[in-house]
């Protein structure tokens, strides 16, 4: 079923899909990652040139001023083509964190050009840090300092800058630091989704300009970032889920066992029908969550969480089934379908797990209509 899109959205999607199909080869990607290059600077420059990085930035700041729906179009394609560059990370940080800062003008122009690659650094060893970090922003005689550590930052290997969530005397704060700054140490490691992760330790002296948001604004930015991350991770999951299904349909049509294509076996057909049904239901909810976010709908928080729960549930199930219906070939690193499974697994707990989203959904009453 075709999704309803505006003409501009269709143009964006078609152009982006064409680019990735032509220029984002799965085998090149594997070799690049094996060589420890989790992000390809040429790709990133191309993303910038195509306007993807400017997409979520307000028009009066030189961006395209587009919203969640357009970001989700790109996120879905990231899932489909297993893009390892931190596109959803950068979009979410630009839109929800940097876009509300006093320094937004100078920062966002760099993001749009592709020279500043921002990733949010939230996670710490303890899970509670996701909402209230132990990393500290402190002031001593007018001098700001950031101390603490962050762990398991997805695409932390590819960031030029981190939006660090910290606590301060006046509540939450977002601080922007360069990964190369003095007092920042970064430990990079490979990850199962090919994205490259990193852990960070901070003991950094800061300019005022590096303090992006504090107090209520920082809290609102965290909420906005989390909800946008839920929507974009759902969209990326959706793209990977659809791709896993498509790959399975294609493979089972070709693979002959017992003298017939696997696709002719009724038990497998019914399972693929279930995969399709669930993927389409997810699609509807993800797009609705985008629209709710873009419309500033009273229920946008519920929709974001519902999309997260549904996409995580369906993505897991469909990608597991995709492996099972392929059989052995899907358990090899050389074949693409298992990589959808691994990326979907990594997205399940990125920023917010399905369980957290469900719990938060249950706590949010629906707006009257």
């Amino acid at each position: 079923m075709a999704a309803q899109m505006t003409e501009d959205q269709t143009l964006l999607k078609d152009a982006a899909e064409r680019y990735l199909r032509d220029s984002y080869d799965f085998n090149e990607r594997r070799e690049r990652i094996a060589a420890g290059h989790y992000s390809d600077p040429t790709q990133w420059q191309a993303f910038a040139d195509m306007g993807w990085l400017a997409l979520p930035i307000d028009e009066d700041l030189g961006g395209l001023g587009l919203g969640a729906r357009e970001m989700a179009i790109l996120a879905e394609l990231c899932g489909q083509f297993l893009v390892t560059e931190p596109l959803i990370e950068a979009m979410a940080v630009s839109h929800a964190i940097l876009g509300n800062s006093a320094q937004k003008e100078s920062l966002l122009v760099q993001v749009a050009e592709g020279t500043l690659i921002p990733v949010a650094a939230i996670d710490e060893a303890g899970e509670a840090a996701r909402l209230s970090p132990t990393t500290q922003l402190t002031e001593d005689s007018g001098q700001w300092r950031l101390t603490g550590s962050k762990q398991w930052i997805s695409a932390g290997a590819s960031a030029t800058h981190l939006a660090v969530l910290a606590n301060s005397a006046t509540g939450l704060a977002w601080v922007l630091v360069s990964v190369d700054a003095e007092g920042v140490s970064r430990e990079i490691y490979p990850t199962h989704d090919g994205r490259g992760g990193a852990s960070f330790k901070f003991d950094v002296t800061l300019d005022n300009a590096q303090i992006i948001a504090t107090g209520e604004i920082a809290q609102d930015a965290l909420t906005a970032y989390r909800e946008l991350a839920m929507v974009l991770s759902s969209a990326e999951t959706l793209g990977a889920t659809q791709a896993a299904l498509d790959t399975t349909v294609d493979y089972t049509k070709q693979r002959i066992q017992f003298g017939q294509p696997l696709a002719s076996f009724q038990a497998l057909q019914h399972r693929m029908s279930n995969m399709l049904i669930q993927t389409e239901l997810t699609r509807s909810l993800v797009y609705a969550a985008c629209d709710a976010a873009d419309d500033g709908h009273a229920d946008r928080g519920r929709f974001a969480r519902a999309a997260k729960v549904k996409a995580a549930t369906v993505g897991r199930k469909v990608s597991q089934e995709a492996i099972q219906l392929h059989g052995g070939i899907a358990t090899t690193d050389e074949y693409i379908v298992g990589h959808f499974f691994k990326r979907i697994t990594a997205l399940e707990s990125w920023v917010c797990s399905k369980g957290e989203a469900l719990k938060e959904f249950m706590a949010l009453p629906a707006a009257q209509h």
Partner: protein, 399 residues
């Protein structure tokens, strides 16, 4: 598309009009009939009365073209109307005539047939039942064996139909019959409109698993039907039926009913009488079901959008039917868990809209078990879930 509220504000006036009418038109007895509905059929007489009230208002068949008595409402208005009827607990009239036969007559019927049959359908004076399935032909409908042999200006019909809902209340039946045994099964079927008063027809009602009687077997023994009662061409009945089947599956609004079930679940969640409140999984299962209903609602809206754009929903109606019915079953399970032992009493008389006495089950659980039982049939009739999954595999996935 507006995410959670599909209806833009300029429809609110329309909605208020519908509400006002319903408030006025629905007697307490009709509301009780609506409340105590345990399947797609409400109490027969209540449903019939409600149809005549709707017809008098000019709302007897909103989806039909205006020239045949339709309302001219757009898709949004029809949705609002259905939603408000559900919220107001209006009973369900027997809808085989309006929902199924009507569109077919309008599409395939001769002028004479339309003039003869449409007015009686919309007024509710004629009650139609559907004669498709046979004891040996369920999912494999095309294997049906009831024959119609041409004899002058009449067909002579012999055979039997089963799962003929409400046949015991109907005065007309539309049937698929075999008119050619020599060709491949689908090619030898015709579509006949048969007066139930014709000699040779016997109706045998039988109880469903919930103990109530809605289903019948209908026997035909040398039943003579004028050839003018053939709908479409001879041997083209399969084409006619396929259109009907698609109509039955498509454009349905499962989420109206599902959201009502969810409201009931939410009320129960905080109720003293909730037998499932000690179940650590209960609240989360309600929430996950709610999320799935949201996903289905958005999918219905997507399909509605593509219908507005003139598309044929095709096999996607299978997707909606599978999801809608299976979600209905999940809601029914959650409700039966909340009711526990209090749902087990079975007092048939309580389901009558006239009944105002005491009930063994608490008020909110009177219909729970029957609804749970009947929910199981929703993935069987109108094309089983297995048939729907086969359609999706073939027509959507191309397997």
């Amino acid at each position: 598309m507006n995410a959670s509220n599909p209806i833009p504000t300029d429809y609110e006036t329309f909605r208020e009009g519908v509400r006002a009418f319903l408030k006025d038109a629905l007697s307490p007895e009709l509301v009780r009939a609506g409340e105590r509905t345990t399947s797609v059929f409400s109490d027969f007489e209540a449903g019939r009365k409600w149809q005549s009230i709707l017809h008098a208002k000019g709302w007897g068949a909103p989806e039909w073209p205006i020239e045949h008595g339709g309302t001219g409402w757009d898709i949004q208005q029809r949705y609002i109307f259905l939603e408000e009827c559900k919220l107001a607990n209006a009973p369900n009239p027997v809808m085989m005539g309006i929902q199924m036969l009507g569109p077919m007559l309008i599409h395939f019927g001769t002028e004479a047939q339309k003039q003869q049959f449409l007015p009686g359908i919309i007024s509710g004076d004629d009650v139609w039942c559907q004669g498709y399935s046979e004891p040996g032909s369920g999912s494999d409908l095309a294997s049906l064996k009831t024959t119609a042999e041409r004899d002058g200006d009449e067909y002579v019909v012999n055979g039997t139909k089963i799962w003929t809902s409400m046949a015991h209340h109907s005065n007309w039946i539309f049937c698929l019959v075999r008119t050619d045994k020599e060709v491949k099964p689908q090619a030898g079927i015709s579509f006949l409109l048969i007066d139930m008063a014709t000699p040779g027809i016997t109706v045998a009602p039988f109880p469903s698993l919930d103990g109530e009687v809605e289903q019948c077997q209908v026997f035909f023994e040398n039943v003579r039907v004028p050839v003018t009662n053939l709908l479409g061409e001879e041997n083209q009945g399969w084409t006619v039926a396929k259109y009907l089947l698609e109509f039955e599956r498509g454009g349905q609004h499962f989420t109206i009913e599902l959201k009502k079930q969810l409201s009931k679940l939410h009320r129960l969640m905080t109720s003293e009488t909730n037998r499932a409140k000690d179940d650590p999984t209960y609240a989360y299962r309600v929430a996950e079901t709610e999320i799935d209903v949201m996903a289905l609602e958005q999918t219905e809206l997507r399909i509605k959008g593509s219908l507005s754009a003139g598309d044929n929903p095709g096999a996607l109606s299978s997707l909606v039917k599978v999801s809608g019915t299976e979600l209905g079953q999940r809601c029914a399970e959650l409700l039966i868990e909340a009711a526990g032992q209090s749902a087990i009493p079975w007092q048939s008389e309580v389901l009558s809209p006239e009944y105002t006495g005491e009930t063994a089950a608490p008020a909110e659980c009177v219909t729970t078990m029957a609804e749970y039982i009947n929910s199981r049939a929703t993935t069987i009739y109108g094309g089983t879930a297995e048939i729907q999954r086969g359609i999706i595999a073939k027509h959507v996935l191309g397997l």
